[in-house]
């Protein structure tokens, strides 16, 4: 009853049915129809036994080829349908990511911000740690001795006027105070090192300081400083100048340089003020740097022999340098903050910029 033609017709019929299957579900049904046990091709296979051997062989080959074609078509169609269906699912799960609701539970994981001063302090610490410094800290309430006396500023020193001091009602009047600089940490470090026989010292000392300045765009009564102290054998002014230069380039950028000019601090001798290339105009001169191309950053110098004497460091065996500058001021310069008071206002619109 049937030759190659009816096999071909079966394949054609299967091809049509497979192409018409619009879903994976439908394709499963079609699969049963065209290649299942009751499919025409299966029927034909079962009828092979009734044929002559030669005819059976030929027809068998035809049928096998036909079934391979149908299977191939089914696989192809199944893959196509899977892709279509996945695509539809994806499209259906579309989110408009700009529909972000700030109050939603997911939004609660929004990241907060470290205060700009913290970030600046961390970065400064990292620069100095990279240069071989340890990071030391000390108390904010100090005695007159640590804040002034040991730093070669005895009570009867007119230079005390350089620091407007907040005094506390602890002990005798004007004996306990809020530290006016981070320099007392130097004294603590040296005292401890002398006691423990643990010289040399290579440390930076960041922290909060207090001066009785009425707040304005460039001054806050509470502010942050970082102090540096190196006490070692063979340390010279050249090491101080080199350290300042390396730090300046590392923190502010390679085209920012440092220069030193003579200054007076009771706790260093020789002393210097250090200026850096104006970060605004990069040295060409602008209003911020009064057309000089330089801005003042901090003070530094070789540790004064009187300070060494106060803490018991042998000034013949050891030399040292110290430097200090404002952390808030670094932040102000780098981010061009017009008014320092923005740092303590805690307006979230300011804080979250950093």
């Amino acid at each position: 009853m049937s030759g190659p033609t009816d096999v071909a017709a079966c394949v054609e019929e299967a091809r049509r049915a497979i192409a018409a299957a619009g879903s994976t579900e439908e394709l499963r049904r079609v699969t049963a129809e065209v290649s299942g046990k009751r499919s025409p091709l299966a029927e034909m296979s079962r009828e092979l036994g009734a044929l002559e051997p030669e005819a059976r062989r030929q027809r068998g080959q035809h049928l096998q080829a036909a079934r391979a074609v149908v299977e191939g078509l089914l696989e192809e169609r199944a893959a196509a349908l899977r892709f279509e269906e996945r695509s539809r699912e994806l499209a259906a799960s579309r989110l408009d990511l700009t529909e972000f609701l700030p109050g939603s539970p997911a939004a609660r994981a929004a990241r907060g911000h470290l205060h700009l001063v913290s970030q600046t302090r961390d970065e400064l610490e990292d620069v100095f740690v990279g240069m071989g410094f340890e990071v030391a800290e000390g108390p904010e309430i100090e005695t007159d001795w640590y804040n002034f006396g040991a730093l070669n500023i005895p009570p009867a020193h007119p230079a005390r006027g350089m620091w407007d001091t907040f005094y506390l009602d602890l002990g005798e009047p004007e004996t306990t105070l809020l530290r006016t600089h981070t320099s007392p940490v130097q004294i603590h470090l040296m005292e401890r090192a002398v006691l423990d026989g643990a010289l040399p010292i290579h440390a930076v000392m960041p922290g909060r300081c207090y001066r009785r300045d009425t707040p304005d765009a460039r001054h806050l009564p509470v502010f942050h400083q970082v102090e540096g102290l190196v006490v070692d054998r063979g340390i010279t002014f050249a090491d101080l100048a080199g350290t300042i230069e390396v730090f300046t380039a590392a923190y502010f950028g390679p085209d920012i340089h440092a220069r030193l000019r003579p200054a007076y601090f009771p706790f260093t001798e020789p002393s210097a003020e250090f200026e850096i290339t104006c970060t605004l105009c990069r040295g060409t001169g602008c209003r911020t740097c009064s057309q000089t191309g330089w801005i003042e950053l901090g003070g530094c110098g070789m540790v004064d022999p009187a300070v060494f004497a106060a803490v018991g460091v042998d000034a013949e065996s050891w030399t040292g340098f110290a430097f200090g500058f404002g952390i808030d001021r670094c932040a102000q310069m780098r981010h061009q903050i017009a008014d320092l008071r923005a740092l303590v206002e805690n307006d979230i619109r300011f804080l979250r910029q950093f």
Partner: protein, 844 residues
Amino acid sequence: MRVPLSWLRDFAPFEDDAAALAATLDDLGLVVEGIEQVGEGLADVVVARVTTVAAIEGADRIRRVVVDAGRGPVEVVCGAGNFGEGDLVPLAPVGAVLPGGFAIGRRKMKGVVSDGMLCSGRELRLSEDHDGILVLNDVAGARPGQGLVEVLGIEPDVVFDLAVEANRPDAWCMAGVARDLAARLGLPFAVPATDALVAAVAGAATTGGLAPPTGPEAGLLASVRVTDTELCPRFTARVLTGVTVTDSPAWLARRLTLAGMRPINNVVDASNYVMLELGQPTHPYDLDRLAGPGLLVRRAEPGEAVTTLDGVVRALGRPGPGLDDTGQDCLICDAEGTPVGIGGVMGGASSEIGPATTRVLLEAAYFVPMAIARTAKRLHLRTEASARFERGCDPEGIDRAAERFCELVALTGGEHLTLAPGVLDVAAAVPRPLSVTVRPARLNALLGTAFTSGEIAGLLGPLGMTATATGGPDDPVAVVVPTFRPDIRPDPMGQADLAEEVARTYGYARLPRRTPAWPQPGRLTPRQRARRRAKEVLCGLGATEAWTTAFLSEADQLAAGASPPFIEVTNPLVEAERFLRSSLVPGLLGALRYNAERRQGDLRLFEVGAVFARAEVPPAEGPPAETTERLGAAFAGPGDDAWSAVAAWRTVAEALGLDGWVLEQGPHHGRAGRVLHPYRSGTLLAPPVREGGARVTLGVVGELAPDLVEAAGLVASDGRPRRIGWLDLDLDALLDPATARRRPAEAAPVSRFPSSDIDLAFVVPEEVPAGAVEATLADAAGDLLESVRLFDVYRGAQLAEPGRSLAYRLRFVAHDRTLTDDEVGEARRACIAAVEARHRAVLR
């Protein structure tokens, strides 16, 4: 200090390049804070004669003035009334640009057109005078149409505004600045004799100078007695008779003006000139108004009152705060003991030089710097004289200054002026020149240089030091430091001081630079790393770091539950900032409120900072205060409450690797109850450091008390206080592994065998904390327990027993085998029995 370049040229032949000089001054540590070009901007200003002055209808403060400046009438409107028709005045015509860049344009006032401006001395930057127009009638040879510059003989000049460091009194005068500058530039430095000076600045207009002393001895005309040479170790007086008090020579007045001082009369001006030139304050008295006549220098009696030149009555002789003040003030009195001034600080009105003065007694003295500093500080009286004396004037410069004064007064003091022979001089112990030995090796070890002894001597010499290098290049240099350099200390400090002088004269910029290296590594301490991590965790939880004030009012402190007495600032900036904070709560609440007032109150904020309290037991050493570093975090975002704080705490604890901590809850009453929600807060505790020791309090967690929140103005839209989650940690305890136990360092092996879970739900009375049940489960489950976790809490009517249902999932695992059902079942039974027995709980 204002320093005219022309004045500096008296002492050394400096070049014209102001910018280069300014850079050199900077590099010497004489910081140039400003450079002013003077005498510029006057080129267009001409002399004009006033022809008509008329009122303007409807205006009583301005007048219509017609002037003639040689090219026909010019009409201007002028507000000054100190001149009249016929006077000569300076006119800045339309188009002129005055000093400071002020451009004159045609203006119309009250309907009158003004074609220029008549100028005051200050507008022309010629003097401080702004009371009226500069009237030029007395200027010799002034005629309408002439340029003002030509008529006044004004030379263009440059004025440097210098900031001189407190330790350099010698540089606080023209000669001192010139000395430093000349030393650096390698120019010869000399203080000119008065006749040479006058010849140079005023040309031919020199007088014969001061005649040799004649007439009665000074000692016959006046007396000087010093009863306290501790406060005033040297006091000299000279007497001038036949003095005519008049105006100073124009050049002298002009120099004072350029230097920022107002000319007064030839006697006072000469005193001021000498101070500006040489740094030595002197004081001229009208001898005829001094009883005695003469002066008595004595210590003020305790409580003694003196009226100073500024009309203020000042109480003396009692100690004030700081500077080791013993209340010793030096009084200058007339010979009968009546005070006429405070020594070295300020004179009195009674003996002031006036137009009628004919006999002048000039005081030139050395006061002990510290004594002046104490008196000036206590009296809040800082004068040109006190500022110089307290830094230290040159005791050896007194005579030269007094002589210069006499010579300057003689220029205009009249033909009868006579200097009485002799000097009234009381001298005790004044500082002497100091000898310091500089070892080149020591100096080079400080500077990183290789200076020889000869080079060192060569750099110090031009500064006025006598530096002698006698031996080889490494041999010591003997230096004699002059008395005008009180900043140089004796050895061993003196070598460092002189190293700075060597470096300054050589130039800091030329010194070598080297990047030091040492074998010790740089690093953060574990505590510093842990602090950074805790802060990062809070940022990760959406909290932003704030920086709030350390100064609070008493009300804020009490509201924050702190116990008085608080540490008080004895000199606060404002009353509301009198106390040191003992809590971070007020600051963070304030920051939340600040943002809420700007409609951005949905926030999580945290702060890390010190809080302060009086020490209950004063330490043996150091201030009797306890400072604690705390971390405070306020959770005020949408939906935030105590849970937010608890979640944050658990994240922080996890990040720091904390082990064995517990949260203990009990109603917070009393002070703590004012801050914390009584039923939604707990205390965080670490296990004891030592066996049998007390547990360590790490902080608190929960919610802020509604009353506190409401008082801070943080209310929801329904008017009820917002729920604000609060976490407050003691970082001193938390960040220290010695107080807050960490997970052990050794790694625990992970089992390769499958784990088994069991879920247990109990109905537990409300008063039993879920944490206690969890602890019991962990304890009872045995060694096979891997974890226990609360996964469901249910409250409702369906419970058979009173309380709530707590469902826990326990996971068991062994390291060497797969657990059998029997093993897990046994653990399950033990858990149930323990919880039911210990907590009056019932298995659901």
